[in-house]
């Protein structure tokens, strides 16, 4: 009898743990990845799958609707290492075509990561570009020349790239690796 109860308990625990683990790392389906960037392709459509729905309900996020734009999230750099506020990263040289885009620095839960400058977002209109349209945004705690997005708290963070009014299609489409910006670690302190 005890053995049966133990088996049942193990089954329930394994089921709950696996559901939690899967949702913590984002839904297993409907995710397009391009380099370090992840895009939940089913978040902004009416027929979202149960995993995407559960993840949205759990996180409390209002997804960008398909037709408004796309949201790409990166938690790691191009080498797969977690983004760390003690390091300086360079992001570029281009983003997928969009009428307007913003790059936000957020904490692991998706809330703006406070910093002394009170500036958590870089907008495409503020960008300094070189002659061929390429750009580099430096992300780090220390003041950087050119395009700079400050990092405040000494924690991990994520980068959120939002493309508004973009011709890039998310549903069923792979995003080309060359279309998304690279995130390269320059140095760490």
């Amino acid at each position: 009898m005890l053995r049966v109860l133990l088996l049942l308990a193990a089954g329930v625990a394994l089921g709950l743990w696996s559901a939690e683990a899967v949702l913590r790392n984002g839904p297993p389906f409907g995710v397009a990845a391009a380099g370090p960037w992840r895009l939940e392709t089913r978040a902004g459509v009416a027929d979202a799958d149960p995993y995407t729905r559960a993840e949205l309900a759990r996180g409390g996020e209002i997804p960008l609707a398909l037709g408004e734009g796309l949201q790409l999230v990166a938690r790691v750099d191009d080498d797969g290492a977690k983004l760390d506020s003690r390091c300086v990263y360079s992001l570029g040289p281009r983003v997928p075509p969009a009428r307007f885009w913003t790059l936000e620095i957020a904490d692991r839960d998706g809330y703006p990561l406070d910093n002394p400058d009170g500036r958590t977002t870089f907008r495409s209109g503020e960008l300094l570009r070189s002659g061929d349209g390429a750009f580099t945004i430096r992300i780090g705690a220390q003041v950087q020349p050119g395009n700079w997005l400050p990092v405040g708290a000494k924690t991990g963070f994520e980068l959120v790239l939002r493309l508004y009014d973009t011709p890039l299609s998310a549903v069923g489409d792979e995003i080309q690796r060359s279309a998304v910006p690279r995130i390269l670690r320059e140095r760490c302190s």
Binding site: L7, L8, A10, G11, V12, L14, G15, L16, S18, A19, V22, L23, A43, G44, V45, A46, D47, A48, P50, Y51, R53, A54, L56, A57, R58, G59, G60, E61, I62, P63, L64, A65, L66, G67, E68, G69, Q71, R99, F100, T102, E104, A106, D109, G110, Y111, P112, L113, D114, N115, G118, R119, T120, T121, R123, G125, E126, V160, R162, Y164, D165
Partner: protein, 190 residues
């Protein structure tokens, strides 16, 4: 060895089957019982017929995760059991603006941007399947309705206005633009 292996495999099969069942049930039940999902938060913040601005920024904790600080939002709740609901977002400014529709389940089921604006506004009428039939029955064939009718997947949800502030200085302007969103129950036809 053999007699001991069979009960072990049997036990493993029981655990894995039960785990799979619990896993799928949990994923399926989460949206039904979530209290922090977007629609629950919207309901706490809002009231029917009111347009509520959503502040995004680093001052205090935002109401929702993953809000873009560059795009102030405003929402209004709709309840189609009260009748078809006309959702209007006047433009009044250049730049990116969007109107999206979210069901109580959290999914975004439709969106329009300023490119779809007509007569200086983005406008749509949200209806249920039954309401759509009634409206179509009352349509005048010689003067067809100019309304964009959108079939909502569930009677309750919210409409969200998004106005982009191209620079931080334009945030106030974008907030004011998003707040011009309205949700109004339509008078019944006929």
């Amino acid at each position: 060895m053999r007699p001991r292996l069979a009960p072990l495999l049997y036990a493993l099969a029981v655990v894995v089957t039960l785990a799979a069942f619990v896993h799928l049930t949990a994923v399926w039940l989460i949206p039904r019982y979530a209290t922090r999902d977007a629609y629950s938060t919207v309901q706490r913040l809002g009231a029917p017929d009111a347009t509520i601005p959503v502040a995004a920024g680093v001052d205090g904790k935002d109401a929702f995760p993953l809000l873009d600080p560059a795009t102030p939002l405003a929402f209004c709740l709709y309840d189609l059991t009260r009748g078809p609901t006309r959702v209007t977002l006047p433009m009044g400014r250049p730049g990116f603006m969007a109107l999206s529709f979210h069901a109580s389940s959290g999914v975004a089921f439709f969106a329009l941007t300023d490119r779809a604006a007509n007569g200086g506004k983005i406008e749509a009428v949200l209806v249920t399947a039954d309401q759509l039939k009634i409206l179509q029955a009352h349509d005048d064939e010689d003067h067809p309705s100019q309304d964009l009718r959108i079939l909502a997947p569930a009677p309750a949800g919210f409409a969200l206005a998004r106005a982009l502030a191209e620079s931080p200085a334009l945030t106030g302007d974008a907030q004011a633009a998003a707040k011009r969103l309205t949700c109004k129950v339509e008078p019944s036809p006929g």
